[in-house]
Amino acid sequence: MGILEVKNVGKRFGGLQALGDVNLSVAENSVHAIIGPNGAGKSTLLNCLVGKLIPDTGSVMFDGQSVLGRKPFEINQMGISRVFQTPEIFGDLSVLENMLIPCFAKRDGAFHLSAFKNMLDDKEIIDRAQHMLEEMKMADKHGMNAASLSRGDKRRLEIGMCLSQEPRLLLLDEPTAGMARADTNNTIDLLKQISDERDITIAIIEHDMHVVFSLAERITVLAQGTPLVEDTPDNIKGHPKVREAYLGETQDAA
C-alpha cells in the first residue's frame, strides 16, 4: 500500500480522452518519476492529484483518504506540496516573506485572522523561515524582492517554501525545464539531498532523462493517457515499449 494510490483514473476533455485508465502506486519515502512523451497526459494526471481537475472516473487516495472533490488548499493541508514548471512564488514580496507564508499556513491553517499581531514579533515562525532559508543557502538574500531572483534561486526558493510545510508528498512538475546544465545539476543535488535527509515521498514529472535516471527509484511511463510500464530505472532503460513510445526521443530530450 503506497502513500499515494491512483486507481482507474480517467479524464476526458470533449472528444479527447486525456487519461484512459491510470493506476499508480507511489511507495512511501521513495522517489517516483512519471515520464512520457508530449501529450501523454502527465500534466492532466498531476492536476487530478492536486485538485485542479476532478477526474471523471476512478479514485485518488492519499494516505488512506480520498483527495477527490477537495480544493487545492485542502489537499495541500493534507500534506501534498506542489512545485510548478515555472516557479510560482510571490514576486512582489521579499524572499523572507515568501518563506514566512508557508510557515504560517503550516501552523495556523488555511485561514487565520491575526490582523493585529506584528509579523516580525512571531519568533517561532521567523526562526523557522530563516532556518529554511539557510538550508536552501539563501539566507543572505532574505531582503531581496523575490521577482528579482535568478531562475535557479527562484526554483530553490519554491522548493524551500514547499519543504517548510513539511509535506509528506512533494510533487514536482518538470522542475528543471528551461534550466541551464549547471542549474539542472544543482537542482538534482538538492532533490537528492532532500530525499536522503527527510522522511518525504517525491513524485516527479520530467522530460529530461538525465534528471529522471539520476533521481528516480521507480519510473512509470505514460503514453496516450495510460501507463505503459512501471519498473526500476535500469529495467526501463532497455525496455522496448518505452523506446517505441519515445521514438528515439529518449537521449536528447533536454
Binding site: 488548499f73 508557508p102 493585529f116 506584528n118
Partner: protein, 406 residues
C-alpha cells in the same frame, strides 16, 4: 511605541501632529488677505472632509492596495453608513456614538453580503459586480426606498434623509423643546461648535467635529498600520501577488479577501456616519458610481498600497478641488497682470477651462497623468524626489533598507 517599529512610529507621530495642528497649518495667511481667501483651508467644513475622506480611502486601500481587488462600488457603503447614522439621530439620540456604531455595523453587513457574492470572481468581473451592486443600491435608494408616499421610505429619495422636529429620538426627545432642530453631539460637545483663536491678523478655528473625526482617523490609520504589518496583511499582499501559489500553499484566499472587503466596507461606513454626524443630511448621490470612481481616484493619486498614500490622496483631492473651484477669471487676471494685455487675455482664456467650474477637468487630467507616468502616486513621486536629492548629497546611493509600503 504602540507596538510599531521606528519608521511607522515616526510616520504616525507626524500624521498625528499634522491632524492636531491642522487649524494652524492650513491657515498660513492672515485673515482677509487675498492669499487667505484663496489658499487658506482651515475652516471646519473642509478640514472635516480631509479627515473623513482620509478614513474612507485608508479603508479602500486595505482592499485595493493590499489585495489588488478593484472595487468600483465603495461609495455604496459610504451612503449606507450615512443613512444609518441619520436614522439613529432620528430614532434614538443625537449622540454620534450609537450612530457611528450602527453605520459601521450596517455597512459591515452589506459588505459581507456584497463581498461574499462579488469575490467569487476576480479581475474585471469583480469590478463590474461591485459596480452593479452599488448601482442597484443607488437606484433603490433613489426610487422605491426613497418614495415619501411608499411604506418603506428609508432614504427620502431626491430630497435626502434629514432630521425633523417630530422624530421620536427616544433617548433625548425632550431636548428639542425650543422648536429648533437638535444638533449632533458627543455627549455635551456639539459637533458644530468651534473655538476661535485670534492671533494678530490670523484667525484659527478649532472645531469639535473636526477633532472628533480627526481622532477617529488617527485610530483608523493606526489600525491600518497594524494590519499592514501583520501576518494577515502579508497574506493579503500574497493574494495580490500570486493566488495560485496561495492555493497550493494550503491557504484559502476567499476568507482573506472577504475579511479585507468587510474591513474596508466598515471603514467606508464609518466615514459615511461621520459625514452625517457633521451634517445630518444623507442623499443618494453619495452612492452614485462616479462617487465610487472618486474614491479610486483619491487612492491612486496618493499612492496605492502605501500607508500614507490614502491620506495624501484624500487631502490633495479635497484641497485642490477647493482651491481650483475658487479661482475665477478675475483672480487669474490679477495674477497674470504683469503680462502684456493680449498674452494675459489669451492665457486667461485657456486657463479659464481648467479652474472654477472646470476643476473636474484638471483633476481628471492629473489623475490620468498619475496613472500614466506615476503608477505609485504622489508618494512615489515624493520618494523619487527624495532619492534624487539624497543621491546629489551623498552620491553613494546605498539606501538598502528601503522597505516597501512607506
Amino acid at each position: 511605541m504602540l507596538k510599531l517599529n521606528k519608521r511607522d512610529t515616526m510616520l504616525f507621530v507626524i500624521v498625528t501632529a499634522m491632524v492636531f495642528l491642522a487649524p494652524f497649518l492650513l491657515n498660513p495667511f492672515p485673515q482677509g488677505s487675498s492669499m487667505a481667501q484663496m489658499f487658506n483651508a482651515g475652516y471646519p467644513d473642509l478640514m472635516q472632509r480631509f479627515v473623513i475622506f482620509g478614513i474612507l480611502v485608508i479603508g479602500f486601500n486595505i482592499l485595493f492596495g493590499l489585495t489588488g481587488y478593484l472595487s468600483f462600488g465603495h461609495a455604496a457603503f459610504l451612503g449606507i453608513g450615512s443613512y444609518s447614522a441619520v436614522w439613529m439621530f432620528k430614532l434614538l439620540s443625537m449622540n454620534i456614538i450609537p450612530a457611528l456604531i450602527l453605520s459601521m455595523i450596517v455597512a459591515g453587513i452589506f459588505s459581507l453580503v456584497i463581498g461574499y457574492v462579488s469575490l467569487r470572481r476576480s479581475g474585471i468581473y469583480f469590478s463590474i459586480l461591485t459596480l452593479a451592486f452599488a448601482q442597484m443600491s443607488y437606484n433603490l435608494a433613489y426610487s422605491v426606498l426613497g418614495n415619501p408616499s411608499s411604506n418603506y421610505n428609508l432614504t427620502n429619495g431626491e430630497t435626502g434623509l434629514q432630521l425633523a422636529l417630530n422624530d421620536p429620538r427616544v433617548l433625548d426627545g425632550a431636548a428639542a423643546a425650543n422648536g429648533a432642530l437638535p444638533v449632533t453631539k458627543l455627549f455635551g460637545l456639539a459637533m458644530r461648535d468651534s473655538y476661535n483663536l485670534n492671533v494678530g491678523g490670523w484667525l484659527f478655528t478649532f472645531n469639535v467635529g473636526y477633532y472628533v473625526a480627526g481622532i477617529l482617523m488617527l485610530i483608523s490609520f493606526y489600525i491600518s498600520i497594524r494590519i499592514f504589518r501583520s501576518p494577515f496583511g502579508m497574506m493579503l499582499r500574497a493574494v495580490k501577488s500570486n493566488q495560485q501559489r496561495m492555493n497550493y500553499t494550503g491557504l484559502n484566499t476567499k476568507p482573506y479577501t472577504l475579511a479585507a472587503f468587510v474591513i474596508s466596507g466598515m471603514y467606508a461606513g464609518l466615514a459615511g456616519g461621520l459625514l452625517s454626524s457633521m451634517d445630518p443630511l444623507a442623499g443618494a448621490e453619495r452612492m452614485h458610481w462616479t462617487a465610487s470612481g472618486e474614491i479610486v481616484i483619491m487612492a491612486i493619486l496618493g499612492g496605492v498600497g502605501t500607508l500614507i498614500g490614502p491620506i495624501v490622496g484624500a487631502g490633495f483631492n479635497e484641497y485642490f478641488k477647493n482651491i481650483l473651484s475658487k479661482i475665477n477669471d478675475g483672480v487669474l487676471h490679477q495674477w497674470l497682470s504683469f503680462l502684456p494685455d493680449g498674452l494675459e487675455n489669451f492665457i486667461v482664456g485657456i486657463l479659464h477651462y481648467f479652474v472654477g467650474k472646470g476643476w473636474h477637468l484638471t483633476l481628471g487630467l492629473l489623475f490620468m497623468m498619475v496613472i500614466i507616468f506615476l503608477p505609485g502616486g504622489l508618494v512615489e513621486g515624493g520618494q523619487r524626489l527624495a532619492k534624487m536629492f539624497k543621491r546629489k548629497k551623498t552620491d553613494d546611493g546605498s539606501d538598502s533598507n528601503n522597505t516597501p509600503a512607506e
